[in-house]
């Protein structure tokens, strides 16, 4: 195969005979090249079929490599010229190339180092911040722990409990007092001894509610569903009691429906 032609060192420091020597050598090599070229032209063209390209190529590679191998064994590498000036120039060039390459490697490694250092610093800073945050949070937790425990103590809760109990008992008292009062002064109408004529109220089968119960129904309805406080009047409500409540402003009729009534909202 053709020999590579390396670039000639162009230097005016070389004496004239060194240059001539090199030129002669180059010419020789060029003539060899032309010989090889003409020999190659005589070889036939070989194109590859689609089917067994790999095998054919591998065979070709094998042949070429065996030839290369034999040549490596037989030939020993020779210097391009024995002229000391030429060699000096070549040596200088090679060393310069190596120096440049090493400088590139050095700068690459330095910049990588710097990057790593910066990364390390950043990570360390982040780590310290995280530790500080952790410490602060721990401290806050410790400080608020006794406060939370205090809150859990039922001092405030007990107070509220007591208040609630008081109110409940008061309510009971009020209700029982109200019930007694109502029973005494507004009893259930008895069938005998009543001023109502039998003709009008012919409903002995219906059980009449005491005023207490009527009031209870009205209160419950108002408290349970403040948006719908109206109670439908049914037959168990004794009409005079209804009139009583209405006349004294304790209860109101529904503005549109005379069969419904509600307790007056005294708490509003």
């Amino acid at each position: 195969m053709a020999e590579p032609i390396s670039a000639e060192p162009t230097s005016e420091l070389c004496p004239v005979d060194a240059k001539k020597e090199l030129l002669m050598e180059c010419n020789n090599i060029w003539e060899e090249l032309e010989e090889c070229q003409s020999k190659l032209m005589l070889l036939g063209i070989e194109t590859l079929l689609q089917s067994d390209t790999k095998l054919a190529l591998l065979m070709l590679q094998w042949k070429a490599l065996t030839v290369d191998y034999q040549e490596c064994h037989e030939r020993s590498p020779e210097t391009i010229s024995t002229n000391p000036d030429v060699l000096l120039e070549l040596g200088k060039e090679e060393l310069q190339k190596v120096k440049n390459d090493l400088e590139k490697v050095l700068s690459a490694v330095c910049s990588k180092n710097k990057q790593l250092e910066e990364d390390l610093e950043r990570e360390q800073q982040w780590y310290e911040e995280q530790e500080q945050m952790l410490n602060t949070l721990n401290r806050i937790e410790e400080e608020t722990k006794p406060q939370v425990e205090q809150l859990y103590k039922t001092r405030g809760l007990e107070e509220l409990h007591n208040k609630l109990l008081q109110l409940k008992t008061y309510r009971k008292e009020l209700l029982s007092a109200l019930g007694e009062f109502l029973d005494e002064h507004f009893p259930l109408p008895q069938d005998s001894g009543s001023a109502i004529k039998r003709n009008f109220s012919s409903e002995p089968a219906v059980e009449l509610l005491a005023l207490q119960d009527i009031l209870e129904i009205l209160i419950n309805k108002l408290m349970a569903t403040p948006h719908e406080p109206y109670v439908t009047i049914n037959e168990s409500f004794w009409p005079p009691y209804i009139e009583l409540l209405l006349r004294f402003g304790m209860a109101l009729r529904h503005p549109e429906d005379p069969n419904r009534m509600r307790l007056e909202a005294f708490h509003k």
Binding site: P4, A7, Q37, I45, T47, L48, Q50, A56, L57
Partner: protein
């Protein structure tokens, strides 16, 4: 039928010639420009073709081709067919390290119509390296140009002591790993 032969002409002094074969001319232009912008210390000439065989009228003006790069667009099946058809017009000795397959357009994953398996098989059958790139991205384009330039330098014999054959073997062993 003109078949490309690796050593049918004498080489130029300190120069190398690259041939790009592919169906997308715009992409080939972009790649050629990227290669020409790289720093180098030898002369370079880049030839662009859509398919082989090359027209024989200008045969005497063309230098010796040192490296053929077959460009396959992963988005079009016909570029693969085109390349497969052109491979028949290349002399067998070219495949001893002076041929390379370049697959472009791998950035768009959802537009692939050729399987990478098929391309890798092609590379294996022809004992040539397969490079994947996305030429629309500037960084990748520059990196691919640098790789191709280095390969070209080796294939033109401008790296002393290292032949195209040894380079292709090196590439293959590392790819198999």
């Amino acid at each position: 039928m003109a078949v490309l032969r690796p050593f049918d002409k004498l080489p130029g002094l300190n120069s190398a010639a690259l041939l790009l074969v592919g169906s997308d001319e715009e992409l080939q232009q972009k790649l050629a420009e990227a290669i020409l912008q790289e720093k180098r210390d030898f002369k370079i000439s880049i030839h662009i073709a859509t398919s082989l065989p090359l027209p024989s009228e200008r045969d005497h003006l063309r230098p010796r081709i040192d490296l053929i790069v077959f460009m396959i667009d992963i988005k079009s099946k016909c570029s693969l067919k085109n390349v497969e058809a052109s491979l028949a017009h290349v002399d067998a000795t070219f495949f001893l390290g002076k041929v390379c397959f370049l697959v472009t357009g791998v950035g768009r994953v959802n537009c692939c119509s050729i399987e990478t398996n098929a391309v890798c098989k092609l590379g294996e059958a022809y004992c040539s390296p397969v490079l994947f790139c996305e030429l629309e991205l500037e960084g990748v384009r520059v990196a691919t140009a640098q790789r191709l330039l280095r390969m070209l330098q080796i294939c033109a014999g401008l790296v002393p002591g290292f032949s195209a054959l040894s380079f292709s073997l090196l590439m293959r062993n590392s790819a198999d790993d």
